[in-house]
């Protein structure tokens, strides 16, 4: 075709300057939203840092922030995948209690080593997921109903198994949720060296992958963000990771074990969602199920495995929760599904499916966690805490929506 068809408006410099900044940022696509969520997290952290007279970011508080909220982050990873595919899972809280019971009983009554008990727990989670995935994927019952039923079924089974509590668990198992990595490398001043090393390695790995991704994008003439934005981003990330590392290195134990678990899960699942065919299929199904099916995506199989996956992650959360409580409790995991779902939506997932990221869900979980922590330090009545969290969920999503509408991207 003639040349003039090709011209996506190539604006002269003056014209370009007149395009409002918000719109130019919008040109970065989904990223702009992502920055917004990170910004909100930073604002909330600073807010509570002031409100609690600096207590929020005390080393031991930061460590226990992760220990207290690990379960939300783990569940949110699975949940965001379910939500992106256009489903929901209401059963995870009950599954946590049920699997927790199985793990505890294998150790106490069957005298199995804790590592074996954990494997049994993971397998049980997978089976629970397969059960629910079967009804959703192959029978075609909406996930809302299947998992509502699951919520009742597994809570009931947890009660049957556990009675009220199963206590007397081995110390190695207990230390999963409360413990930290051994500080084999000693201390610099009061700072745990292992923690510092992990922080440095994490940053370098991140920077390396980002730089490489950028290089390859430029080599292929794809749109990469401007150098300025890129470097600013790296500096901010360095500051964030640096601050976290230093603070944690001064905490009583150094790096909490659960932080390592969550970190590994985040890396693995971000890769899965962003880079693999399976991840692509999840987004494709959530965006337009019929079109995905007509492109050769086996929608049933993907649905099935998404539920198996969240079953396994619920089992991981169960292990962490049981370990933290020091016992399996039949009433454990109450409302966990709501925490995880809230984290996903605060993190920018779309109710209608097709949109959502692991990193967003994690940030959403952190926002809820900081809120919990800050309000507890301030000794706010738990009843009010709950009300405030509800409002934050509502406002976060409303803010996001208005923002999008203003950018004209409805």
């Amino acid at each position: 075709m003639s040349v003039d068809m090709n011209t996506t408006p190539n604006l002269p410099a003056g014209e370009r300057a007149r395009v409002p900044l918000s719109q130019r940022l919008g040109g970065l696509g989904g990223n702009a939203r992502q920055y917004g969520i990170f910004g909100a997290l930073v604002v909330i952290i600073l807010l509570f840092q002031v409100l609690t007279d600096g207590k929020l970011l005390l080393a031991n508080n930061v460590a226990s922030l992760f220990q207290q909220n690990a379960y939300v982050m783990i569940l949110a990873i699975g949940m965001v995948m379910v939500i992106v595919a256009g489903h929901i899972d209401l059963s995870v809280g009950s599954v946590v209690a049920f699997v927790g019971g199985i793990v505890a009983l294998s150790m106490r009554d069957l005298d199995l080593p804790w590592a074996v008990a954990i494997l049994i727990g993971l397998a049980a989670g997978a089976l629970v997921g397969a059960w629910q995935g079967f009804w959703v994927a192959y029978i075609g019952i909406p996930a809302f109903i299947v998992t509502l039923a699951g919520m009742l079924v597994f809570r009931g089974l947890a009660l049957v198994l556990v009675g009220e509590t199963v206590a007397g668990l081995p110390p190695e198992f207990i230390s999963i949720a409360g413990g930290s990595l051994p500080n084999v490398l000693g201390f610099v001043g009061n700072a745990d060296v292992v923690t510092l090393v992990i922080g440095a390695v994490a940053f370098l790995a991140l920077a390396f992958t980002q730089v490489r991704a950028r290089q390859s994008m430029r080599k292929h003439n794809l749109h990469a963000e401007p150098v300025g934005v890129f470097i600013t981003k790296l500096v901010l990330v360095a500051l964030g990771i640096g601050a976290l590392t230093v603070i944690l290195s001064f905490s009583a134990g150094g790096t909490p074990i659960v932080l390592v678990i969550v970190g590994v899960l985040v890396v693995v699942y971000s890769f899965l969602m962003g880079r693999t065919v399976f991840g692509r299929h999840i987004y494709a199904i959530g965006g337009n199920r019929a079109a995905a099916a007509l492109s050769g995506v086996s929608t049933k199989r993907v649905d099935f495995w998404i539920f198996v996956n969240i079953g396994v992650l619920a089992a991981v959360a169960a292990i962490v929760t049981t370990s933290r409580a020091g016992a399996a409790i039949a009433a454990a995991g109450q409302n966990y599904e709501l925490d995880a779902i809230a984290a996903c939506f605060i993190g920018g997932a779309a109710v209608t499916g097709g949109i959502g990221r692991i990193s967003g869900a994690i940030v959403g979980a952190l926002i809820m966690g900081v809120l919990n922590m800050g309000l507890s330090i301030m000794a706010v009545d738990p009843a009010w805490q709950q009300a405030i969290k509800g409002l934050v969920l509502l406002l976060a999503v409303a803010f996001d929506l208005l923002n999008k509408r203003r950018a004209g991207t409805r």
Binding site: L222, T276, R280, N288
Partner: protein, 515 residues
């Protein structure tokens, strides 16, 4: 004499990274039919969305003067209050509601006690349906009537709102000739009642037939406004020259077929309706496609063309399917789409919004969606290569977007269609089934697509084209099948094909008589 009902002055509309409209002017006289022409992505739909308040005042620059006074619509309700009603490119009816409910959606007919007055609703709906020439009962569900009739329901809905200025964005794109003719007749009738219309269409023969004046938009700017009944009548060629900036000598590229071995044979294919399983939709159809051959499939709306194609393509449609499929002479069983794709089939849908695209994902991801296997190793997608591929299609098919990272939903209708085609061309099948491949595509780009189809045939692929535009089939196909009521009623080689002959076969009744 220049009594303008509408003047749009200096309209500029920006999207992130794109200026869709730049200093556009449009003047529409009272009581005329004013056409807007332009290539895909020129900004036609955007201009109409500005006019109807979809993009509210403040979202754009410039003035809209309606009936002599400047208006600042904050939303579609404001514009409707002033008698400006838009019917969008993608129909916006609620499929599960009845015709009457759809007509009065948002404008419910209430009784004095404030509840819905169903008698009045249905009576008024029946009256409106009569005005648009629909014989359907008002309580019929919208999903149970064809697209052509749905388009008429949209117009009835507009009439219910005391419309002064009716905007129709590609109203005939999905209609066959008969339904289109009826619709155009209706618009003429409205003009006689004093209703002004603005119509966007890529079917230039319709523009020539119905428009009083035509404004041409190219790359977001007004190029010119043509008087259709002026001293010298305006030809289609003249409009094309305005649209693309040069003349187009031929509508169809040269194509010398070199036909090879049979690549696809469908025998005795029978399909029933997916819900009403006793209803025959395709009835013992048999067709063959050879390598290097472009085969057409003609038929009226509801003849079963799409149903035939989709049921072959991994049983994506229908129930109680029977028959045999042979690929390269060997029988194949295509029970899933995945099997069909692996056997070398591809089906590019006519309904891109529902079956073709993930609108909330990027151009790049949509182009690769059917062939991720080719772009991945060990289940990990090679995003660099994927980007390169998408970029190549953007250039080859002239997809108007500033980056392949843009969301497909933000592209203009015609450019979305090109993304669907890219996806299936990239899948590199042996047999490519194209269902209405040029729906909503501008004249220049049509030529490009025909060229691509020819190239695919020259590479030895078989192409099966389903189209409601007979000139298109006559222009590009080597052989044409006709389908009527689910049966193959004729097979005509290129040399013997005429519009009349095809029409005769297309309207043949079950007992073999032409109706």
């Amino acid at each position: 004499m220049n009594d303008h009902i509408l003047e749009m002055r200096g309209i500029t509309k920006r999207f992130p990274g794109v200026i869709a409209l730049q200093d556009v002017t449009l003047a529409v006289r009272r009581g005329e039919v004013h056409a807007i022409c332009g290539e895909n992505g020129a900004g036609k739909s955007t201009l109409m969305k500005v006019l109807s308040g979809v993009y509210p005042h403040g979202d754009y620059e410039g003035d809209i003067v309606l009936d002599g006074k400047t208006v600042e619509f904050r939303g579609i309700r404001d514009s409707e209050a002033e008698g400006v009603v838009i019917i969008h490119q993608e129909l916006a009816l609620s499929p599960y509601l009845s015709i009457a409910e759809n007509i009065f959606l948002g404008n419910e007919q209430l009784s004095s006690r404030g509840v819905v007055d169903w008698n009045r609703t249905n009576a008024r709906a029946a009256d409106l349906l009569r005005q648009v020439g629909l014989t359907e009962r008002p309580d019929t569900r919208v999903m149970d009537i064809g697209v052509g009739k749905q388009q008429l329901v949209e117009i009835a809905k507009a009439l219910s709102k005391e419309v002064k200025l009716l905007i129709l964005d590609e109203p005939t794109a999905a209609l066959n000739d008969e339904d289109s003719a009826h619709l155009l007749g209706l618009i003429r009738g409205l003009r006689d009642r004093g209703i002004t219309s603005i119509i966007i269409s890529h079917k230039l023969n319709e523009i020539e037939a119905i428009a009083d004046s035509t404004t041409i938009i190219r790359d977001g700017r007004t190029i010119e406004t043509l008087e259709m009944h002026g001293a010298e009548p305006v030809s289609e060629e003249r409009i094309i020259r305005g649209m693309v900036g040069r003349s187009l000598d031929n509508r169809f590229p040269e194509h010398t077929p070199s036909i090879g071995a049979e690549v696809l044979r469908i025998e005795d294919w029978t399909v029933h309706h997916p819900v009403d399983q006793s209803r025959l939709v395709v009835d013992g159809a048999s067709i063959t496609v050879n390598r290097g051959e472009i085969v057409g499939l003609a038929g009226l709306m509801g003849a079963g063309r799409t149903e035939l194609a989709m049921s072959v393509f991994g049983r994506s449609y229908g129930s109680r399917i029977s028959g045999r499929v042979f690929k390269d002479g060997k029988p194949v069983h295509l029970h899933t789409v995945d099997q069909a794709i692996k056997s070398g089939l591809a089906y590019a849908t006519e309904d891109r919004k529902h079956y073709g695209l993930n609108l909330i994902d990027t151009v790049q991801h949509n182009v690769s969606a059917a062939a991720l296997d080719k772009l991945s190793r060990g289940g990990v997608v090679d995003r660099r290569q994927e980007g390169t591929v998408a970029e190549r299609f953007r250039k080859d098919l002239n997809i108007k977007t500033h980056t392949v990272q843009a969301f497909v939903g933000k592209l203009s209708g015609g450019n979305q269609q090109k993304v669907v085609l890219s996806k299936w061309i990239y899948a590199d099948p042996d047999v490519l089934i194209l269902d209405e491949p040029t729906r909503g595509i501008d004249v220049g780009a049509k030529y490009e697509i025909y060229t691509i189809i020819n190239k695919l045939a020259e590479q030895g692929k078989g192409v099966l084209v389903i189209s409601s535009e007979l000139p298109e089939l006559l222009g590009i196909c080597d052989r044409i099948y006709t389908l009527s009521q689910g049966r193959v009623t004729g097979e005509v080689p290129r040399a013997e094909a005429t519009q009349e002959r095809l029409m005769q076969y297309m309207t043949m009744e079950k007992d073999g008589k032409a109706s």
